[in-house]
């Protein structure tokens, strides 16, 4: 979480010529989000969501572009973006599998579900498969306790999971290549 400090001194920032913050995103922010808030910073969370939706993660360069666009300091944007778990500051797989590990899910069998993902994908929670198709994480309560255990495949919730069911879902995601929306 936010209080894990990283040694970023001397870190190299990858840059590309094509901006991550496209004109289309800028237009949406200007038209839809900026008028909603008293300050420009108010539009930061929606903007980060939009950029992540377009690129699947938030490269450092994108954060700097957002800062310039909203008239903020890059440090402020990084401060916010690094606080929230849903913002990915490193690349993730096309399909993000998030297995709930909170109270109801753990005691209704979420460990077996995570283990099935581990086995099937050959990765540990927090890792991405070599082909970049899947990232596996465990996270806290998804608000699906009455139908535990639960997991998200990108934004799609799957309930009452079993190891067999989750393996089937992974196979389907692999086959279709469409992994729901980011």
């Amino acid at each position: 979480m936010a209080w894990i400090t990283k040694n970023s001194g001397g870190a190299k920032i990858e840059r590309r010529d094509e901006p991550y913050l496209t004109q289309a995103i800028k237009d949406t922010v200007t038209r839809t989000y900026l008028p909603r808030y008293e300050t420009k910073m108010g539009a930061l969370l929606p903007t980060l969501h939009l950029v992540q939706q377009a690129h699947n993660w938030l490269p450092h360069q994108a954060l700097i572009e957002i800062a310039e666009f909203l008239g903020l300091k890059p440090a402020d944007v990084i401060d916010t973006a690094s606080f929230y778990e849903e913002y990915w500051l490193k690349p993730k797989g096309a399909c993000l599998i998030s297995v709930c590990r909170s109270i109801a899910c753990e005691f209704c069998g979420s460990k077996a579900v995570t283990d099935a993902c581990r086995r099937r994908l050959g990765i540990e929670p927090g890792e991405t498969t070599d082909d970049g198709k899947f990232t596996l994480i465990e996270l806290e309560c998804l608000g699906s306790c009455g139908t535990a255990p639960a997991a998200l495949f990108n934004h799609t919730l799957h309930e009452n999971l079993t190891p067999e069911k989750v393996e089937r879902l992974i196979e389907e995601a692999e086959r279709s290549g469409s992994h729901g929306h980011h």
Binding site: M1, W3, R36, M41, L45, Y84, E140, C145
Partner: protein, 460 residues
Amino acid sequence: MPRPNFAPEKPILTQRIPCWPFADPATRRTIRLDEYQRTGGYDGLRKALSMAPDAVVGEVKDSGLRGRGGAGFPTGLKWTFLPKYDPAGPPRYLAINADESEPGTFKDRLIMDFDPHLLLEGIAIACYACRLSKAYIYIRGEYFHQAMVLEEAIKDAYAAGIFGSRGLLSGAATAGGGPWPLEVHLHRGAGAYICGEETALLESLEGKRGWPRIKPPFPALKGLFGKPTIINNVETLAHLPSIVTFGKEWFLAQGTKGSAGTKLFGISGHVNRPGLHECELGIPLRMLIESKDYCCGMRHGKKFKGAIAGGVSTGILGPDQIDAPMDFDIGKNYNVLGLGTACPTIFDEDTDMVAVARNIARFFKHESCGQCTPCREGSGWLYQLLSRIESGGGRTKDLDLTLEIATSMGAMPGTTICGLADGNNWAVRTIINKYRAEFEKRVRPTYVPVTMSVGAAANA
């Protein structure tokens, strides 16, 4: 007086959402605007607009409605903390707490999933009554589907003239002197439990990291962007249309003394039919678990061992507390923090309570925002200690240290800004105190080495 099974005469919050014992949840679907209006929707708002704003506040205050988000603070009273309305004054805001992230809790999701306009009507009534001109629904990032449903519902409401710059209900005349324009926006969070704390929620709405603010000033005076702000939970607002329609006496007649009205109870864990039910407050936990109307008994016929009272922050009800009435007095009568979100998680006799404590400690370690040292460090210590005890490497003194930490951090001991650490404390403390033998069986005794000479050697 509640009916024998504590079900309301007719479902209120769930009138359009099938729940046992009234209807099969398998038939649930999202109610769109036209159907909502056909079935009495927005009648409550219409009636509210015919009343003076202060009269609506008075009605809600006298109804005894208490916040459904966890703390149970009287809603009407909270509203009266706002400064006196001045048409030339600064804007005033409503922030709707839809950040439902308390483990075990899945009640607000039901309303947003299936009856989004019930929430929107509640928002309109609150804004009219309290003279608020803009409302932000702060919904947790993981509720992507619910955010889409709400976005659609807000769009429909604008298109139908219910919200907008002309005033509520297409600029209808009101008893408050002229139409009341209202803007409603959805704001998606991004995965942080702490943003359910009201001032952290405001920080997050402002685009900052979700760090709770020091109070005072309270949000009613200085809240979002430094302006007067009311923060209410989704379920609290969903109660408003029926309170305005049927009146305070009707609301007071349900539930028990000090705990008026119905409440959504979401039961999870080791029961035969987990799920959501709308019952009058005061329903005994045993009835929720055993009744055929609700959860149909413990799974596989096992024995009841314990239940998280209402979200992990509230602590645990022990094996002998299954008859606890679920109302706002549960905290002082049963040694838990309170009713919380009224979503109990049930454990059967095979559950390892040390693992339960470890799971909860891990949650709080993960979700501590890091602002206050006692919580940031203490939550990590608790998780390490409980993991060690669980794996068999703990000693008896670890238990004492665990309890010492779980007593000294938090807003109640006065060492942190918000109550996150208090939730951690209550969970860990009540589990250890109510299942102490299980913990003691896991730990090895702490030996204190003593060197002394006795007998002839002592005299040498």
